[in-house]
Structures are given as structure tokens and as C-alpha cells.
Amino acid sequence: MTPLLEARGLAIAHRLAPTNLALNAGQLVALIGPNGGGKTTLLRSLAGIDPAAGEVRIADQRINELPPSRRPYVFTFLPASRELVWPIAAADVIRLGLPSPDPGHVDALIDLLELAPFANRPVDRLSTGERTRVLIARALAPRPRLLLLDEPLSNLDPYWVLRLLEILRETVSKGATALLALHDIERLPAFDRALLIADGELRADLKPEEMLNSQEFGQAFRIRRNEKGWTVSPTADQQSSR
């Protein structure tokens, strides 16, 4: 089976070491890593935003050969920034970027993400969490085969963190794939697979539970698990410098 997403030798000087990555259809994948480790850089180069060496193919098509009219059906990208300047109504933001209108689906997404109370309010008047849900609805609107989401869970309250993971699980069960950058390692068990990136290098690609117990994880995050939960653990460098 050809993977849905395939990256070969994807690299950006000083920011991303040559990276190979393949994601199959129907997977919910977490991308974790310490601050500045390269999560956003990897997502952005997969989405074709940052020019990078190497090749990205999604649904067997080179990403830079995908015309704007087809791109939203193949993949969508949620940026880390939730800033929206223009006073456009929330429902209209969801429709932005849809190559052809799909009113039924947009209405369904408004219900699914419980946006109805503020669907007609300008997005610049919404809270960051509300805006996040609007932007997630926009990313879901074209029914893309691949979702590249940068920190979709940040700014969301506990209910919405759990609810969004449910919604993504449902989306993935219909054949889509979602790659999410995230910080909250407690959420890892909800995923099928976890990728660890640190210092611009993909360090591990494991099942979530294996990831949490792996040496690479401990080294990258400088934390370890004990019976009470997580605790800070100094790295080898720090120990040797003492």
C-alpha cells in the first residue's frame, strides 16, 4: 500500500535534518518534541509553506504540483497562530478556502464543534479558544485526506481537548489521517503513533506507550516517569558538567 504522505530527504539548512517520513491512511499521529525542537518546522515544510530540499508526496502527488483548486481536498493546515485580523463572521471563515460551496457540511461542522452561538459573530471578537475551534472547523471543511494541525489542543478547555480528540478519531476512522503537533504528553495514549522530534531531527517513531518509556523520549524532554507521575531528570550533559 502506498502511504498517504511520504517525505523523502526533507531538509532545511540548520533547522531540519534530512527527514524521511511515511504516514498511512486512517492514522491519528502525534508529533511531540521539546520547545524549538522542530515540530512546527516539520509541519510547515510538509505543508509546503517553508521551502525545503527533498520531496513531499501526498496521495501520490508531489505537493508543489498540486493546484490551489485541489489542495484543500488533499490536505489542510492549521497554523500555530490563531490571530485573525478582519472582522469576518465565524461561519464565513469556515467557508473560506473551500473551492466549491458545501453548505450542508459547513452547517454540520458548526453543530459538531458547537459554534452556533457565535457563528455570525466577527472572529476578531471571539476568545482564542473559540477562534481555535472555528479554525479547526475550517481545516475540516473540505474533508481533506490529511490534516496537518499545529498545536490544535492548546487554548482549548479540558472538555474541548477530549471532544476534539473524539472528533479527530471519528474523522480518521473514515480514512483521513491527522498529524498533530502537541505538548500535552498525557494525551499521547489517544494516538495510534507518536513521532519525536528534537534539535530538528526525527529521533523516534513509536507506539505512544513505547514512546513514553523510551530512552529517546527521556533524553529529549529531560523528564522521566516514576510512581507519582512525571519528574524532571537532568541530562547526561548536565550531569557531566556538574
Binding site: A47, F77, W86, L96
Partner: protein
């Protein structure tokens, strides 16, 4: 939106007809006594003025809307990218220092000035296409070009340069011929059409540059194209009619109220609103104090400045809430 278009279309038609035919008495009198002269008055004097007011207004509205969408800033306008001041500088230099009189050459000098100003803006803001840096660079260039224009006029070989340029630089449509109007409006119309093609990309820019890039639009290339098209359109108009302020700021602001905040969709209605505003302003100037001609650019500034302040106040309220 259909109703809004019907209203805008009617307003534009009414404003253009009123601009062409008013004051009507003199025209009617001439038509009775000397029909040929009446026709000449209409086609040689009033028509170019109407076309220029309509076309320049549309250019200002459309380029203003495009630049505001590009910079994600409702206070951006052709003045801010340095286009207007650069064009004025180029045209003044060509006219008073090189003694060029051909309208086409002057339009070329205006466009060259606008593009020169743009080149400096892009060099100043560097490879980083941060809109705010670009905006500041544009402001710096606009101020420098304005100062350089005044200096060139003060030191010009002709002692009357300052007085002489008053009508022109302050923005006026008086005594322009049809070929002059064509020199300004043909390149401007081409640029505006090319800008309209980019309206959808500008709309998607509302989701942020990253999302637009992920959708297959290159924000930096789009920025360069939009700035060049705006510069040429404004440069050609400035070389014939001088600088006119605030229309490029107010028209897009009004247009976005019709497009529910969508910045790209506002391009076409902003062009119509800009045209109506400038037609009405130039009509008002005609009925000013007898014996005195107020340049239409002065009127738009006098009316526009308080509106500008109002926009700043509403923006502050929005931020505060």
C-alpha cells in the same frame, strides 16, 4: 450583495452623469446658440475630466483595498507604499528639471518614480516580508519623497514652479485632454484588471500568510505583484492628475462593510465607491467660491482627515473591547 451592487451601479451612473452635465444651464444655452461648441465643451473639456475623476477614484479605491488586504491593515493605502509620493517626485523631476512635456513621458516618469520608491521600500524592508516592516519602510520613503519633491520645486530653474505645481500636485482634473486621460487610465485599467484576478488570493490571506501558502499561493510573490500593479496604476494617475489623499483609505473601509469583512472581495466595490467619492468631490469643487478653484485633492483631504481619525478611534475601541 446583488442589491448593494444595484445601488452602487446606480450611484456611479448618477454621479458620472451629474459630473458630466452639471452645471447644466451653460451647456443648454450653448446647445441652443452653438451646438458644435456645446459638443466640443462636452467631449473635449468635460468628458476627460469625468473620465479622470471616475478612473482615478476607482484606482484609488481598488489599490487601497488591495494594499489593505495585503498588509492586513485597514490603515494601509497607496500613499503608504510610497507609490503616490514617488510618482509625484518622478513627474516633478521630469517636468521641471528635464523640461519634459509629453504626457506619455510624464506618465512613464510617474510610474518610474512609483516603482523606484517601491524598490527602495523592498530593499529597506529586506528579504523578510513582514508587513509591518514593509509598512514602516513605505512611510519613510513617502516622507522622504515628499521632502525631495518640495526641494526640487524650490530649486527648480523656473521661479514659478511652486505656484505652477500647486494645481497639479494637490490633485486636479481641470484642463486635462482626452489623450492625457488615456495615458493615465489605460495602464491603470490593465493593472486594476490584474489586481481583480488576485482578489481570491487576497481573501485567503485573511486566514494568515501560512494558510494562504499552504493553499498554494506564494505570499511573497503575491505581495510583490500587488505592490507593483498598485504602483504603476497610481503612478500613471498621479503623473496626470497629481496626488489625491484619503479616497484610497475610505473607499475600501466602506466596501468591506458590504463584503462582510472579506478584504479581497472588497476590491471591486471599493473601486466603485472610490469612483463615486471622487466624482462627487470634484463636482463639489466646481460649485466652490466663485473665482477660486480648490484643488479636489485638498477637498478630499479636508473631508478625509476626520474620517481617518474616526477609523482610528473605532479601531481603538475594537482593540479595547
Amino acid at each position: 450583495m446583488t442589491r448593494a451592487w444595484a445601488i452602487l451601479g446606480t450611484l456611479l451612473l448618477a454621479a458620472a452623469l451629474a459630473h458630466l452635465l452639471l452645471p447644466f444651464d451653460a451647456l443648454a444655452e450653448l446647445r441652443r446658440t452653438a451646438p458644435n461648441t456645446a459638443w466640443l465643451l462636452l467631449s473635449e473639456i468635460r468628458l476627460p475630466r469625468t473620465l479622470l475623476a471616475l478612473g482615478y477614484g476607482a484606482v484609488l479605491g481598488l489599490t487601497g483595498a488591495a494594499l489593505q488586504a495585503l498588509f492586513a491593515n485597514p490603515l494601509a493605502s497607496p500613499d503608504i507604499t510610497g507609490s503616490t509620493s514617488g510618482a509625484a517626485l518622478g513627474a516633478v523631476f521630469a517636468s521641471y528639471w528635464l523640461a519634459i512635456t509629453s504626457p506619455l513621458a510624464l506618465a512613464g516618469a510617474g510610474a518610474a518614480g512609483a516603482i523606484g520608491a517601491l524598490a527602495i521600500v523592498v530593499t529597506l524592508s529586506g528579504r523578510r516580508s513582514d508587513p509591518n516592516v514593509l509598512l514602516l519602510a513605505g512611510l519613510a520613503v513617502a516622507l522622504s519623497a515628499g521632502a525631495a519633491t518640495s526641494l526640487l520645486l524650490a530649486l527648480a530653474p523656473s521661479p514659478f514652479a511652486f505656484y505652477d505645481s500647486f494645481d497639479w500636485l494637490m490633485g486636479s482634473f481641470v484642463d486635462r485632454s482626452l489623450p492625457q486621460a488615456a495615458v493615465a487610465l489605460v495602464p491603470a485599467a490593465i493593472c486594476c484588471a490584474l489586481l481583480l484576478v488576485r482578489a481570491r488570493a487576497l481573501d485567503l490571506l485573511a486566514l494568515g500568510e501560512d494558510v494562504a501558502a499552504s493553499l498554494g499561493y506564494e505570499p511573497r510573490r503575491l505581495a510583490l505583484e500587488v505592490i507593483i500593479l498598485c504602483s504603476v496604476a497610481v503612478g500613471a494617475c498621479v503623473s496626470v492628475c497629481g496626488a489625491i489623499g484619503f479616497v484610497g483609505l475610505i473607499a475600501p473601509y466602506a466596501a468591506r462593510r458590504l463584503t462582510k469583512g472579506h478584504p479581497g472581495r472588497a476590491l471591486a466595490p471599493a473601486a466603485v465607491i472610490g469612483a463615486v467619492l471622487l466624482l462627487v468631490a470634484d463636482l463639489a469643487v466646481r460649485f466652490g467660491p466663485a473665482g477660486r478653484t480648490i484643488p479636489v485633492g485638498v477637498l478630499t483631504t479636508v473631508v478625509g482627515a476626520p474620517l481617518f481619525i474616526w477609523i482610528v478611534v473605532t479601531m481603538r475601541r475594537r482593540v479595547a473591547s
